[in-house]
Amino acid sequence: MWSRLLKAALVGLSLISCACVPAAAQDVLKIGGIGPLSGGGTAWGLAVQRGVEMAVDEVNKAGGLTIGGKTYQPKLVMFDDQYTAAGGRTAAERLINVEGVKYIIGPIGSPSALAVVPIANEAKVIVLSNGYAADILRKSGEGAYNFRAMNSNIEFGPAMIRWLHERHPEIKKVAIIVTNDATGQAILPTLGADYKAAGIEVWSESYERGTKEFMPLLTRMLTQNVDLLDLNSNAPGEAGLLLKQARQVGFKKMIWQVGGPSVDEIISIAGPLANGFLSYDVFDFNDPGAKSFVDTYRAKWSGVINAQTPGWYNATKILFKALQEAGSLDTDKVRDALVKIEGYDGIYGPVTWGGKADYGIAHQLLNKFWITEVKDGAPHALTVLTPEKK
């Protein structure tokens, strides 16, 4: 009799233990990530990786993502694209054809994005990328599967410049110093047009990415009698050096950045010379709403938080929301759900898509943004703006 009881107890225990292991039976939902994980752009690639991971961890801690009645555990599969076209292409091929991924976050650089988007669209894979080249959205056509999850200067430029012109009508000439790479060359025509529309004359110069010595360039700028220096899309390190060396060479007028943001790095590089500097900012890390984001990040990683990280966290959360709204993994349905999301708050405030006038399709996420001023060595938010929905 005891042996029968023992057997029953064992069977009962095993039945209970089966019921208590649902996690092993849950499905994994692979989310692809592409970004530079080696070479000079690694900081941005890590921002993609960490931003997506934060969103993924958050969802998994809450028990998973329920889509159409089934619960999934999202998982990030991230590949390095080395910031080149061939790298992006290889990474995307591997994600789509080997890992079977249907949703990709990234890439961040225009060469990589321009190489990834055509094959992703062909394979009906959803892409939420960055990259300032307008062709990323323009060449995709109706019914495309790719979206842009961060503002490019076409989105934030006009609003910022108009704000500045109203506040400082005495500014008549601006110096725009850009890198001669994909981002810089994409920005110059559009940013220049935005300034000219506000009646401000433009003088521009470009330099080879990786240059750190700007004194000759800035001395050249001094001869042009500009009232304003715009650091636009320069990387944080270069932006800091440009500001510091501009002050060191004797430039006394206003310096601001329609791009970046690089406020923390600029303060650390230029020190007291940074006071009075204004900048575009994608995220107010001092905002009370940002605190939980910062704490979660700090619990896992140390060091400077790259300002693009919240943007990728936001993109992933929007993707998850669209998956839930669509109730299915089918990318046609998810794409339609994405386009329809309006008003959902990831971390940037209500989602709004725009860009139809600029690109032919409204697949540009319009994020609100801030203008920050450096006062006494610390950044202070001046105002909040939203891009125009065109």
Binding site: L37, S38, F79, D80, Y83, T84, A85, A86, R89, T90, E93, R94, I96, N97, V98, S110, P111, L114, A115, P118, A133, D135, K139, N180, D181, A182, T183, G184, Q185, A186, E208
Partner: protein, 333 residues
């Protein structure tokens, strides 16, 4: 006592000679594999990797031709870029057909080589390396700065496929394989002929060769032009494959990769660059996820190869074979 001797003449392994009887069976096997695997493992990702490997084989073997004449070019990828841009511009701006674009690409890079060759090929080893290093950079800067023609850093996108019927990944692989076989075959033909022996003699003892009546400069320039035209073909094919070109694809990093493929595989035998290509293109794919560690190992491998067997992997095989052979010979007696 370990350490280098103080002679300045680097001892060079003999070019490896595979016994004739083994050659054709091995070649047929390899060709069958290259042509056949897509039919058994039709995975798009593998097609992409395969296409990159065969395309890079063109670059590596064409550079090998130049290296066999005794000159290391650190600007080979720039000529690839010239070919790519000429081809793409011919197709997008002048509306020519893609195959004709390929020919124009080859002509463009070949012509540039013809203009530059006679001047720079007169320089000895180290100076030639430096000049090609700088030239490569200058050409890349032209790609970046001449925005109206080349699209600058944003490149030229929306390049059509080579032929509407040949747009699928598998077809692309076969087309590139065919081009690659043509190029490698051409290089092999050149190197195994009378011309090839002359090339080796020029590399090993240029003055003696000249005294024997070899038109050294003319030979070097001809080889240089052929090599640059071939890598221009690779550029055009790459453009049709990626449907997009930008200056970052033709930078110093690419040129260095081509040189490293030759060095690691072996600079003195045609098998060298082929082995090197597979190594350099396939290895990063296998070791994904440990990018920095992979690069560190890669650097260490370079050091070890250059320090111990400068003839590359081919040299390593030859030495191993010799050791095995001497062991057998010893065992018999």
């Amino acid at each position: 006592m370990v350490g280098p001797s103080s002679t300045t003449v680097e001892s060079e392994p003999r070019p490896s000679t595979t016994p004739r009887s083994y050659f054709w069976p091995i070649a047929v096997l390899i060709l069958a594999f290259l042509g056949g695997w897509p039919l058994f493992v039709p995975n798009q990702f593998l097609f992409t990797i395969g296409t990159f490997i065969v395309l890079n084989a063109i670059g590596a073997t064409s550079l090998h031709l130049i290296i066999r004449t005794g000159h290391i070019s650190l600007g080979h990828a720039a000529f690839m870029g010239v070919g790519a841009y000429c081809c793409v511009l011919a197709v997008t701006k002048f509306g020519l057909s893609p195959p004709l674009g390929l020919i124009i690409g080859m002509a463009g890079s070949g012509l540039l080589a013809l203009l530059i060759g006679p001047v720079v090929l007169r320089l000895t080893g180290k100076y030639f390396v430096l000049v090609t290093f700088l030239l490569g950079e200058v050409i890349r800067m032209v790609f970046v700065e001449w925005i109206s023609v080349t699209g600058g850093s944003n490149g030229i996108s929306g390049v059509p496929p080579l032929h509407p019927l040949l747009a699928s990944p598998m077809a692309t692989y076969y087309v590139c394989l065919a081009a690659s076989l043509f190029c490698v075959g051409l290089c092999a033909r050149i190197l195994s002929s009378e011309v090839g022996r002359t090339i080796d003699s020029v590399r090993e003892a240029e003055n003696v060769a000249e005294c024997s009546g070899v038109p050294v400069i003319r030979l070097k320039v001809s080889i240089f032009v052929i090599a640059c035209a071939l890598v221009g073909l690779q550029g055009g094919l790459l453009a049709f494959f990626l449907r997009y070109i930008d200056p970052t694809s033709f930078s110093m990093v690419e040129s260095l990769n081509l040189v490293v493929m030759n060095v690691i595989g072996g600079m003195y035998s045609l098998a060298g660059p082929l082995i090197g290509t597979i190594f350099i293109v396939a290895l990063p794919e296998l070791l994904r996820g440990y990018v920095e560690l992979q690069r560190v190992f890669f650097g260490i491998i370079l050091i070890v190869v250059m320090a111990t067997f400068p003839g590359g992997m081919v040299d390593l095989f030859t030495r191993v074979r010799k050791i095995m052979a001497s062991r057998n010979a010893g065992a018999v007696g």
